[in-house]
Point group: D2
Chain length 387, copies 4
């Protein structure tokens, strides 16, 4: 037990702004008439703007996994072939979902601790001369490994291979944190959720679809009424936007979060995330000069601005996390999909600023000191200097 604000530095769900919590802390309203209706409709243009698309957007009451299924259910049918570009834990997870739906899933894995290699994608696709692959599944950022994939380059690789597959991208871990230009980059389907960069309690998933993807839905149908894009994008009654009762409090919360983001501005948001992620990497690099700490992702350009996964070698990451949480009021992320004692993660997405991240890094350095493990002191100062 200690006092002072708790610092949640996990890579999602992230710190909810007071404004968003307050916006949700309101009495229930009518769902057939009144201000909720207009407020709901106002969300879509803002979400599309953030996604860089003039296509369609749907909001599911669901988490990110639900949005994954919402994307697949409109595109992938039993027997379809799908290519997963593996660079961590999440694209394969999405692929497993496609397998359960009856698809045949192929996997092209990135080299360990690296991002997807566009050249490898191109080569793989050139082998698919029959164009059996209907869709490619890839994440922009993997929450587990902390990798950032170059989606634009992957699209170029697909084009270079002359392959007609749909490009489906999971941006859950970084939507609203790093640039994403769906239309400009040629992404056909994008999946996101509200509880990371969008600073809203978990409960909403998003899917964006361009005309090419919508055409697939129209031509091949959708066996799920809940995930079906058609009534959600052409609703003749309000409730069809959500296939049933609207998520009232979440609509209020998301509206407030999008307002905050509009006030700051997309470019400023991305710059802030870059600055803060740079501070984390500067600290890790400094600490690592005297011990085993290092970023999981080897290639500097492929380190995400939303989450950093740190390998701890012989330093007990679980003990480190425990000191931070119990003694210093900082919750770090576990090493998801890794040995929890050899890795931890720092989430730096959403409602985060310089003093928050310096406080988190300060706690990590204090914990390292108390553990009497090898590291080079001065990481926090390196972070300050990097900003």
């Amino acid at each position: 037990m200690q006092t002072g604000r708790h610092f949640l530095a996990i890579p999602g769900p992230t710190v909810i702004p007071d404004r968003v919590l307050r916006a949700m802390n309101v009495p229930m309203v009518n769902i057939y008439e009144g201000p909720l209706i207009d407020m709901t409709h106002s969300l879509f243009p803002d979400l599309k703007r953030l996604a860089g698309t003039a296509g369609e957007a749907v909001i599911y009451i669901a988490n990110g996994h639900g949005a994954w299924e919402g994307a697949l259910a409109n595109i992938v049918h039993p027997g379809d072939e799908v290519l997963v570009l593996e660079s961590g834990r999440f694209a394969p997870g999405w692929g497993d979902m496609a397998t359960q739906m009856g698809a045949v899933v192929h996997t092209l894995a990135a080299p360990p601790r690296r991002g997807v290699d566009p050249a490898a994608v191109e080569a793989w696709l050139r082998e698919d001369t029959s164009h059996a692959i209907r869709a490619i599944l890839v994440v922009q950022v993997d929450t587990a490994t902390g990798v950032w994939n170059d989606i634009e380059a992957i699209r170029r690789a697909m084009d270079a291979a002359g392959h007609p597959a749909l490009l489906m991208v999971d941006c859950i871990a970084c939507f609203g944190c790093v640039p994403f230009e769906m239309d400009a980059w040629g992404v056909d389907v994008m999946v996101a959720a509200c509880q990371k960069g969008l600073m809203t309690p978990p409960g909403l998933g998003f899917v964006f679809a361009n005309e090419k993807a919508m055409a697939v839905r129209r031509e091949r149908g959708c066996a799920s009424a809940y995930w079906d894009w058609l009534p959600r994008t052409q609703p003749d009654m309000y409730y069809k936007l959500f296939c049933g009762t609207a998520p009232v409090q979440h609509i209020f919360g998301l509206r407030e979060a999008l307002d905050m983001m509009a006030e700051e501005g997309k470019d400023a948001i991305f710059a802030r995330h870059a600055r803060i992620a740079g501070a984390v990497r500067a600290a890790v690099a400094h600490w690592g000069q005297g011990g085993p700490l290092e970023c999981n992702i080897v290639d500097e350009a492929a380190r995400s601005n939303a989450v950093t996964t740190i390998l701890t070698g012989e330093i007990d990451a679980q003990a480190l996390r425990r000191i931070c949480e119990d003694d210093l009021g900082v919750t770090l992320g576990i090493g998801l999909g890794m040995d929890w004692s050899q890795a931890f993660r720092i989430g730096h997405m959403g409602h985060v600023n310089e003093p928050m991240i310096l406080g988190v890094l300060g706690a990590v350095e204090l914990a390292l000191t108390r553990m009497e493990v090898p590291f080079r002191a001065g990481g926090v100062e390196a972070a300050v200097n990097s900003i």
Copy 2:
């Protein structure tokens, strides 16, 4: 614009207790460790107790329609035959969902303004000598018509017909408001949601399944990872309970709502709903002695204790609702699936008590008076006397 507390008397989402809103108004927490884990696990026994089952329970991040699909996805496969017992708007809606999944849907409609007739069900099923029907879909209460169906009697009819179909019941509109004994009544699958009797903002759907239903899932598979009961009921990791990120704030809210319900006690809750519904019906009956107002459901025993649908004949129900909302601070429900000008609904489920309902009825009587339409004055007093 007027002042004083607004009365929301729609049949869901219902008035959220201050305690529940406050329980949700908390900073985000870790989703991998800590108190959220135990709190989540504590929800299931309470939900099962309320459903009267020793079977399995799953909590979907979804609305009631999502829970419908969650129930179907584990039971119904393309080509399966399903029987819908129509007594309003919602069982057919559920059936449409099965149709979209590829099922063949048959419908047995109740007589107009009445509940499902068990004898008719028995007769229908006796005709199905090949036992082609795999599942029967029925609602306990229909939010649109306000009917209450006698589920126990329907099961007896199925048994009398010797039919092996699964009995799947939608309790969304009345879960936590009226008795439901899943195991004792022989219900195989039950669907509910959090935003009505459970007094929690919309965003959670529930499915309960007995062993017979679970066996179907195990034997025939499930093409949806999101709706799949198996990982959710046998999770080796916490996140599998929700197929992804947990709905943190909703867990806090639902926990508080279930605590409130435990404090009051199941029997007391049901008695309260019966008392308050009786007051509404007493007022309507009284008003109707001098004009066209009447309960939509003809059979008194089939009027639900959760919502009352009122037919208004030549009285303009839209004008009535407008006066109540704009001048008197009371929001009534629209006549769902009916001519909005000839019907309205009063929701009396969840966080409701005697003075609340008397306030609502008082507003309706005031509005009737101002409209100078035919009705017998004294309905509020009739309501007082009925309590």
Copy 3:
């Protein structure tokens, strides 16, 4: 234990609107710079408008008693003579405060269960030929007896007597509920507080002073720095507005409450209070036709629109209140300054509307019925009809 919203029907502190509570539920802010400063300054014009004065206003961090002292401390000095116009509990209480300050307090009591008689005031003052009385203390509404005094008539009586005393009026129980025209009526000092008609949690008291009162302060001094009007009305630094740290959350709350009042409009607010008070009186009159219930105030014109005190005769008012609170979710006011078993009060001020008061009256009638005491049933209907 029961569920549903609780109805607080005491004559203050009153129901706090959700909007006001939410406005207060914000992180702490800087008190030396920033938006708090302008927001604070915005309160004074709105308060003055409500008081009907172009004079000065001060906001004390204090309750109503504190504001009483704040008024006296600037006007009354040891040895001064003061006249209290007694019509309940509160003007004498204010007088006791003056006594403790060293003033000589005279009392002119209204007839039992009636308001102050202006003619008696005039007669009394004519006797004070030496004009020894420096100030007259009177309430506009007495929270205990429920009386409303005609302040305008009292001023006319003073003028008729040609008496120069300051007229000091306590509007705590009705500020923002009934008309008050400080300047037009010739009131010199007015005292109010935030927790009744102003719908804000208790913690702020207000004093309004016209030029005549300010001149007294300037000429005769003030021995209290905390209550002193001078620095508060001519602050060269922000903190002097409050003689120290500003009441941050209360400023946010009061700002929201005043915004709500501006949205509704002063006249509409007063009309609403009149309408709702009329409904209460109609119910009491009806009940009283079959038993001992009656309004404490005999003269109909002197019954306040903010609170009604009801005498219960041989009906046990404590038992009545207990049934309402424990079984029906309605808290009634005790018979302040009376035998608690022979009187109770209904507060109908601030955030109140028709369905709220009908709910409260319905609960009272239900309780009377359960107690099997003599009363004429139909009081709620009488209330409906009166609106």
Copy 4:
């Protein structure tokens, strides 16, 4: 405009814990009966425990200045002589209040940038051979200068001089942050408030009085009903605890804050404040090795653990504060009573922990860097190392 949590680092009002805000965000309750009564009574023992006294405690609806007056009103009468021990801005301010009440105020000033010198106090009092001084006013910590005075030593000095004056101590700026032992140290009257170490929105002031002080009140009277200790410490009715309406929401908030403090424990709280203040001083000392930054208080032992006042010499403190607030989300305190461009303050009291203070110090160092002013980089690291 930027995003991420705002850091309020002013020396009060301080960061309000979410738990406290939430505890206040509740509907209004009855003030004559029910749980509020017991909760109110539970506050006094906890406050006394924190003050280290078996004497009396009163809770005023007022800010700290109000509590000052509440203390004086019971002890000091017109013509009384009082000695102010000046070590900043606040003891003289308290003395001004006594002057306005008619007391004759003498002042003994500490040397610039130092605390009160007990030897000087002893010498001064020895000169007062007639024991004309009735009370000595001193602060434990001055919010403006950041000085901490050794109250125990001052009492010893008074005893050494054999002087019978009452020792009255203002602990507003440090109550609940640093040790205070009223009875053990021989303090007669202590004044505090809720908005600093007690983490509650401003609106409550506290006065503690031992038997010697209560005897003065009883013997000499009190001209103020609002500030009078007698009815507040011997209330025969609940409302007398507050001389009127209770501060409902503040009672809920203070209860929660005291619960948090009990959970952490008095010693742990004091140790935390010492640790965090040490970190601030380490950073300032480090920065000062390359430029003009220095602690205002020269004597290290006299630097308070609640607030640090930093002199900036030729560095523009206003520009520094502006960068921190506008660009980095950190609000620093102004140089109260000093040239705002040559000093600033860091509040580190109440709801504060290591990552919070490291975040604040990081922001200051970032601002210094951006301003390109002389300082030695590495202050944040020095802070980390000091912890």
